[in-house]
Symmetry: C2
């Protein structure tokens, strides 16, 4: 297995980007990534484009459009899709192509244009990622699924609505310090707790944003990485798993078995334990999802996620800094871009380029990216 | 680079499958593939699901559904999409994961349920794979694009409508001998030439079918392949390329530059020349596409594709047997399944299991799979 490094990263502005089309959002990420790597499109051998839903932008087979507009063409592209975990699935596919020797330099471009449709329509399109025979027709959309997880977590472990809200408060605290964040403002705890209910117990500040934006990462073989950079960030662990399609079939509503499998395999491949991780990006599509991630990834024991955030253990200075870029909650969640955006943040953290959000001396980073309600789960380990 | 073999293949019945849902079509392919490989789902490490359009079946993130229903879950899946070249793009991604050592056994499941919507709606959905700002709004759908290629080929090289029709006649001849074909009946040349015009010069028998169906292939590392089979079929070449998004920007309408790049790279990686290929599966979405493939792949010179079929060089016994399973034209074209279906046919050909369609002594097979109008192009070489 050849070693694989991330050598260049680029990130566009996340937000309600009425000023940019899908292809332009991709362009905003690809060009900085190429500049960061010190290469041009001519050095690329292939591209992987991660876009979750073609119905958002109304473009079929959208990776061709992205490949053409960003100058990857005439080199090949394909699209990888795993709902909200598309970005890390694309990174996994690219890792395989580079590690195997099929290609030496591959760009992964994550992008989504969600606000071309209304937020109601976007929610409906996302709901179709639930089982369209046995879940979607009965009206379950994603806030509803995660509300089920939250109420069960409250029932089993005594987790409180305030603890849920604290996750949002933390992520907005850091997002306010991230120039590419969709909603870069701090939210007082009281406001978060008392916000309009979306699906009880989840209020407005428990739910991530519907965002437009792009992120890109350039992967290279060890030989190429040594040629182009003195600060490669290695992908040292790749783990993935899945949970049942229907939430009703699961033995637990407070844990995602696919995440546990992914974490186990990623730690093993990287040859590390959870205590070795210095900074983590986790999939906080809802605040309960971040709390479940603390537990499934082993940052704390099952049931202790609520006190983990209450004790500020996931702030910088705590046991495990989590989502210090603002996470999906404040930075935003253009779904196909999110896993790649996590990669961008971790590469910058391991290079020490994050300014006031920097986790000092970070050497190992973890990315946790979940699709649907756990049907897709990827954990990637990055090391400097 | 570790060697990768195809050890098991499975193929469902292609057709207008009103009796089966998307997940059931996948099941029909996965189970025979597992049986063929002599393994169960427990031996799998991951799955790649290739589905071109989620709007056909109305299921978002459909790979989770397929993974769950076919028993790949709790192992991970992701979806690879490259329009009509999705199947081979998925095989490429799986090749990378196995060759790199990330996984030892990966299943690739290609499936599409196109007839859940009307054929008019299906044609419209496919048209959206053209540029939705600069092509689709002006009414160009795929028969129109390929009609442009055909008229230009006729103008430049004197190719005739009869020669186009001969491709359809050949593919129906062989499709009539393939039990999984969608339309397993022979078509007389006169009927093909005089058929209803879809987009001149392309008539009804110049256009492939809108099909439902699934195909699956199980890829293994060399070590695992030696453990499970005495007849591994190796993937020895993987090449890919892309053409411009807009057809209007291309220097030629009679050749696909991405196919030439893909073929060059695939031949080089396999260490072969075109004359070493014994049997080919090419992407005959329209009869002109097969003629262009003869030329771009080097089976004959540019402009000679028309006489190549007229001289029956692509029949068994000719210079290069092409689509002896019936091709997209007669076997059918459930778009996400097609590249995997080509793999199934070639594996069976190289194992000598094709009965009256068998190319005797075939040792090297070529798969050519094109998405959109060449924006995606993959060429794979299989060797026994």
């Amino acid at each position: 297995m050849r070693k694989v490094a991330v050598v260049g990263v680029g990130h566009g502005k996340f937000g309600k980007r009425t000023d940019a089309t899908l292809r332009e959002l991709a362009f905003e990420a690809v060009i900085p990534a190429l500049e960061d790597a010190g290469i041009t499109q001519n050095d690329l051998e292939a591209g992987v484009v991660t876009i979750a839903g073609e119905e958002f932008a109304g473009q079929g087979a959208p990776s061709a459009l992205v490949g053409d507009y960003t100058g990857i063409q005439p080199r090949p592209v394909f699209r990888v899709e795993s709902a909200c975990a598309s970005g890390t699935a694309g990174l996994k596919a690219a890792y395989g192509m580079v590690s195997s020797g099929l290609h030496d330099i591959v760009i992964v471009v994550g992008v989504e244009k969600m606000n071309a449709v209304s937020s109601v329509r976007a929610t409906e399109l996302m709901a179709r990622a639930g089982d369209t025979r046995w879940e979607y027709p009965f009206g379950v959309s994603f806030p509803g699924f995660y509300a089920l997880f939250a109420t069960r977590h409250m029932h089993e472990y005594g987790t409180t609505k305030e603890q849920l809200a604290m996750v949002g408060v933390k992520n907005h605290y850091y997002g306010a310090r991230n120039p590419v964040a969709h909603l870069p403002k701090e939210i007082p705890l009281e406001e978060a707790v008392n916000a309009m209910i979306i699906a009880w117990p989840l209020g407005l500040y428990d739910c991530c944003l519907i965002s437009d934006g792009g992120a890109a990462a350039i992967l290279m073989s060890e030989e190429k990485a040594r040629e182009y950079t003195d600060t490669p960030v290695w992908i040292t662990g790749v783990g993935s798993g899945s949970d049942t399609m229907m939430v009703a079939e699961r033995p637990s509503l407070t844990s995602l078995s696919g995440v546990k499998r992914a974490a186990r395999d990623a730690y093993k491949m990287a040859g590390i334990e959870v205590k070795d991780v210095d900074v983590a990006e986790v999939h906080d599509c809802f605040t309960i999802a971040e709390i479940m991630a603390y537990e499934d990834l082993g940052f704390c024991k099952a049931g202790e996620g609520g006190t983990f955030i209450e004790d500020k253990q996931s702030y910088i200075g705590g046991a495990m800094p989590v989502n210090v870029d603002g996470g999906l909650k404040s930075k935003g969640h253009p779904i196909g871009a999110t896993g790649v955006s996590q990669c961008v943040e971790l590469v910058k953290q391991l290079r020490g380029e994050c300014g006031e959000r920097q986790v000092e001396g970070a050497e190992i980073g973890l990315s946790h990216n979940v699709g649907q309600t756990g049907q897709f789960a990827n954990v990637l380990i990055y090391s400097r």
